[in-house]
Symmetry: C2
Subunit: 387 residues, 2 copies
Amino acid sequence: MTAPDRGFREEEFASRTARAQERMAEAGLVGLLLTTEPEVRYFSGFHTLFWQSPTRPWFLFVPATGKPIAIVPGIGADLMRRTWIDDIRTWDAPVPEDDGVSLLTDLLTPYAQRGETIGLMKGHETHLRMPLADYERLLAGLGALQIADATGLVRSLRMVKSEAEIEKIAHICAIGSRTFARVPHFANAGQPLENLFRAFRREGLAQGADDVPYLVGGADTGGYRDVISPPSRRPLATGDILMLDSGANWDGYFCDFDRNYAIGSADDASRWAYDILWRATEAGIAAARPGATCRDLFLAMQGVIAEKDDQGGDVGRFGHGLGMQLTEWPSHAAWDTTEITENMVLTLEPSLGYGDGRIMVHEEDIVVRAGGARLLTERAAPELPII
Amino acid sequence: MTAPDRGFREEEFASRTARAQERMAEAGLVGLLLTTEPEVRYFSGFHTLFWQSPTRPWFLFVPATGKPIAIVPGIGADLMRRTWIDDIRTWDAPVPEDDGVSLLTDLLTPYAQRGETIGLMKGHETHLRMPLADYERLLAGLGALQIADATGLVRSLRMVKSEAEIEKIAHICAIGSRTFARVPHFANAGQPLENLFRAFRREGLAQGADDVPYLVGGADTGGYRDVISPPSRRPLATGDILMLDSGANWDGYFCDFDRNYAIGSADDASRWAYDILWRATEAGIAAARPGATCRDLFLAMQGVIAEKDDQGGDVGRFGHGLGMQLTEWPSHAAWDTTEITENMVLTLEPSLGYGDGRIMVHEEDIVVRAGGARLLTERAAPELPII
């Protein structure tokens, strides 16, 4: 299987920026200040794992017209120069007493003097990636500058993927599917769960993933009780229900889906739970059409799950957006009335509780096209597979 | 090699909490509100990769006396119940209009009514991991509550490691050393760098790492120019200088070090740069004794590097703390006068520029004991290795 090209053509960044600027104009914003990895990458193409170090802040400012402006630590200047960005301002970070604050102040002072409004992401599923004290100090030096929440603006752009983005996500979903297809070959009774996790990650890399940063799961007799744990040393045992949920990535884009397996034999309750979730996912696939809402998707899946669920819904939702992040807006939940549109990439992730604290989750990744959902993952088997 | 036990004994969390509470009392803080993964884990033992999803905030509150209180999404309740925490308050996150804000308000209102002060991490190398708009809304509902920066307090605890923490870091450093020792067996001319990265990650997992989340590097004729890039498809070529810098982890603790190699043959300038950095690291190792400062370490390394450096110092520092995060306080820089004390775990990471934009970096991990530094990594070869 041939991998797509890495990176994007400059036109893609120009188009993203132009669309942001249109919406900024509509919203009365003269600029957009971005501090988080996906947003900086979305508008600049700046792609590095160095964000894993919490030491240095990184800033990108999208003005009302023209290319974005980067304000970044000197250690990133070389890499930023290889993007489409021209205006790159650096300092020798880390410098705790002035980690970019002076450079930001210089940039923003003209806007402040005119009492204008810039956008900042302050809403759901966002955070400010700079020391809070630095932010407070920055604001204090920019008295009349107005700050508006730009979460909705950025969200509206990022939720709908370009063909180049969809190609990358489809690629990593195929890698993930091939990895899961190999699980019966390297999982077995007696194997400590941490060893299985390691084998899964190695297989994902062998299949072509750049990394498998997210891997959680559970295994327990007749069903697992937790879906966010790191692996234990408990050996897999006959009668276990095993779930692996993985976010592998390629060129900065994620897949996010899981698979369930029974070890040796499957109990009736688990087989029943699996069947319900498999059918709930079918209902979600059928409902994921342009014009439907996330609430519609939730209700379509919930309608099947209502046959049997005692968990009280504490997983919070039945899937979400997918792309540069493992989880993105929107959420398939009763409270999310976001309209599904063409070229959204979504996960369908129904779950249920089925007694004694046992829960089961099931997840697929789809892209929404004009005619409806297209699976990006190889569909899970209709019956609980036995290893 | 036998791995240490996973997790910590309850006494460790009790001790961390008691020491925090002593310092809180000295600082006049009646509580400490924590929102970030390392801090929540440090005081609770709550360990999950689920933080990779930006959707849900997680909170831990350390009161003046007694165990911490967890305010977490329902999806994490089961895992939190397996820690030493007793008071666990949950909601069915995500709920954008109230993702924990009401629960935090209930908890903090008594303090607000008395006009008391709580600590929050607002300083260098920290961020607030919750939507900024939610934070502003929380504060607005807690009029008289005072917020003080608790970065120094938490930093003073986390910088000095327990024996159990040192054991975990030593374990992952040994895994990293064995992985680097294998590089000459799987790196070769003609191999695209992205394939080498994948092979390195697979080897790290085979050697026992839970994951190799951080892997950056460069390779170019006669020297690399960038140290934070993701891998390209450019094939390794004879005459390249290759650098791999890796943060592998085990049970939530990191190693962070790099190695340089010449492919086929090494040019004189690169061999000279390597020699300077190797000796600078020796100087750092000798200087890393209790009572010295980070500035002393920096100057010891800088004294050697001054023989030849044209980079202008834009890497910003020559090493840092290491533990639950890839990079932690303190920084080996002229501006950091933090006193080195026993049981700090540090990296020594001198770097230099040597013409035409080429840079070289070199890194080892140490633990500071009463008698001086003890290497946790297997010391790099004194001469630039040729593959």
